[in-house]
């Protein structure tokens, strides 16, 4: 048996190099990747300017479908953002011992998804230069946002969540920024000195830092749930068949967590490969997230079935027309959604072999992301396309303008992540060190097992 903690037996300099590889080494591949993503983003910006100058007529939007793929993107990105902070907060609060390598990637995903998603209502707005009308400020024209509108609730909730998520991400990084400050030179040292706020790692600082982290985790969970509930109410508050449903809020929250976990798995798989983090992001982490994903697939299936069954049974003509269109015009999207969200990933993720294989679980997660995108398409466009009067029924297809902006949103997300990885540690170094510090190996009969000290706030001693 060894009484030493694992951190004492780790070469900390090597650990620092491994975990900071993303911002210590810049290869030509990084520049190439960033260059390609920048080009796609620039193209998207150019197309957006064209749309702004020409008018919304260049999109596929037409009566009765006035919400198209731009709103689909909004719901998709906000959904993707949902899980990062939520997972991180839940894992922090439950003291999940495997959480450390996942936290930063998940929290960053939330922040960047929100930044991208939050742009879409503004892009979709038409006459975009008037976006400031949503901001309440006294003006001589007597203009004031209408608080009765769910879109206004959205603006308030998303801004709260964005500020909360950025703060949560930032607070989690403070000890790592202090580490980078002490290890770097030149302009980076100046930058990290300011950003670390003078954190030194004294006992009093650590205690208060932990209390603040716990408090953030407690506060951010209800905010995360409220944000996606409010996004769902954008739809559910309208008397549109297929939207006006009491189940929408929990259904959206479930869908958001589902796609969010899949997003976290994909981001982790990419980071693991690009920054050679095999020793830190182990199959165990993917296995645990795979179990969560499997459970969410089941819950999503249950919610979808429940929603479908009530309409199927009572055959309210307005709603039935929407749902029956899934078997006609929207059949390919519907089938893709069912296959990608449930039929393929659920049995796959039940197998430990799949969950522990990085390519296999990445594939399952990719399917889920595709499936959830299809689900958003069905929710947003199918309901509007079969709205009330049959003589105005009209199917919607996005134009090259909308598709270009959609591609640019993915490029923007990737680019933000790449820039972040260059400036900040993509792994929560302090949390990983803390995990190693609390872990020792001890004899258990004839075997040697890891023992982890769980230190509760307010307790004086850690206990094994």
């Amino acid at each position: 048996m060894s009484g030493e903690n694992l951190l004492a037996r780790t070469d900390e300099a090597q650990l620092y190099r491994d975990l900071s590889r993303s911002n210590l080494v810049t290869t030509w591949k990084w520049f190439a990747g960033a260059g390609i993503l920048s080009l796609v983003l620039l193209w998207g910006i150019g197309v957006f300017v064209y749309m702004m100058m020409t008018g919304m007529g260049v999109t596929g939007l037409n009566r009765p479908v006035f919400w198209g793929i731009l709103i689909v993107n909004f719901v998709f990105w906000i959904g993707l953002s949902h899980s990062g902070t939520l997972i991180s907060a839940i894992l922090r609060l439950t003291h999940a011992t495997w959480r450390a390598p996942i936290l930063r990637a998940a929290e960053a995903m939330t922040a960047f998804s929100l930044m991208v998603g939050g742009l879409f209502p503004l892009i979709h707005l038409g006459r975009n230069w008037r976006f400031y009308y949503t901001i309440p400020y006294p003006n001589e024209r007597g203009l004031w946002p209408n608080m009765r509108s769910p879109l206004m609730w959205d603006a308030v909730a998303i801004n709260t969540y964005l500020i909360g998520s950025l703060t949560f991400l930032y607070v989690g990084m403070i000890p790592d920024l202090a580490l980078l400050r002490d290890k770097s030179e030149g302009w980076r040292r100046k930058l990290y000195s300011i950003l670390s706020l003078g954190f030194r790692g004294t006992h009093a600082e650590w205690r208060r830092y932990h209390r603040a982290s716990t408090l953030f985790a407690i506060l951010i969970i209800p905010v995360a749930v409220s944000v996606h509930s409010i996004v769902s109410w954008d739809f559910a508050m309208a008397k549109v068949p297929g939207w006006h449903s009491t189940i929408f809020a929990p259904y959206f929250v479930v869908g958001a967590i589902f796609s969010g976990i899949a997003g976290v798995v994909l981001v982790m798989a990419v980071l693991r490969r690009v920054f050679r983090l095999e020793r830190v992001l182990t199959p165990l982490h993917f296995d645990n997230l795979g179990k969560l994903l499997c459970m969410m697939s089941l819950i999503w299936g249950y919610f979808y079935f429940t929603e479908f069954l009530t309409v199927w049974y009572n055959r309210n003509p307005e709603e039935w027309e929407v749902f029956s269109s899934y078997g006609k015009s929207f059949l390919p999207v519907f089938l893709l959604m069912i296959m990608c969200n449930f039929v393929i990933p659920f049995p796959m993720l039940c197998m430990k072999k799949v969950r522990r294989s990085i390519p296999a679980i990445s594939f399952a997660s990719f399917l889920v992301v595709v499936g959830m995108y299809c689900e958003r398409i069905l929710i947003v466009t199918a309901s509007l396309a079969r709205r009330n009067d049959p003589f105005i029924w009209h199917n919607y297809f996005p134009t090259w303008v909308e598709l270009s902006i959609t591609a640019a949103s993915f490029a923007m997300f990737g680019l933000l992540y790449m820039i972040f990885s260059k400036l900040f540690p993509i792994m929560a170094i302090s949390d990983i060190k803390e995990r190693l510090f609390h872990t020792t190996e001890r004899a258990f009969g004839g075997a040697s097992v890891e023992a982890i000290a769980l230190v509760e706030e307010g307790e004086e001693e850690g206990s094994e």
Binding site: L215, F216, K433
Partner: protein, 174 residues
């Protein structure tokens, strides 16, 4: 003569804990001793933090302040810019609840950041504070505010006996 900070550098938690306990036994007040480490240490393992953590209760206060601000924003909107719709009240309760809740949460989140940073003593860039960058290489620093003379000699001895790799004197705050 004014007091200064004695900093002992230790290789691991055990010798640092011995030094921390020995310094307390000198006796030195708990508020005059602290550890600097790259990972958080449980309270009492090396040093004690006698100050209670207060900022969390103020976060609750700010939650209520935020709730009032949200309520005021929604109510002021209804009353100053009334939206008259047949058969509907000027003040609508469901949106008021949502706006109140979101603004309350926003205030609580910002209060956690600002009050937490303030209680940690962060953002005081001009204050001279003791610092030990070698904590990132696995070392633990034990720092004590001591009076020059007899107290300093005894504190040095306590650190050396505990196995300090290096002992130095620095002027500044803990």
């Amino acid at each position: 003569m004014s007091s200064f900070v004695l900093i002992g550098l230790f290789d691991g938690v055990e010798p640092a804990a011995k030094a921390g306990h020995a310094l307390r036994a000198l006796p030195l007040a708990a508020e005059n001793i602290t550890s600097i480490s790259g990972v958080p240490l449980p309270d009492g393992s090396v040093t004690w933090d006698p100050r209670p953590i207060r900022f969390s209760r103020y976060v609750v206060v700010f939650w209520f302040v935020g709730a009032l601000a949200g309520l005021a924003l929604a109510l002021a909107t209804y009353l100053l810019y009334p939206l008259i719709t047949a058969g509907k009240a000027i003040i609508s309760v469901p949106p008021t609840l949502i706006i109140t809740y979101e603004v309350a949460m926003l205030f609580a989140l910002l209060a956690t950041l600002i009050l937490g940073a303030r209680e940690m003593g962060l953002l005081r860039f001009r204050a001279r504070k003791v610092h030990e960058p070698r904590i990132h290489d696995g070392k633990i620093a034990v720092c004590a505010v001591v009076e020059p003379g007899e107290q300093e000699i005894r504190a040095r001895r306590a650190m050396k006996t505990a196995g300090a790799l290096e002992i130095r004197v620095e002027e500044g705050e803990l």
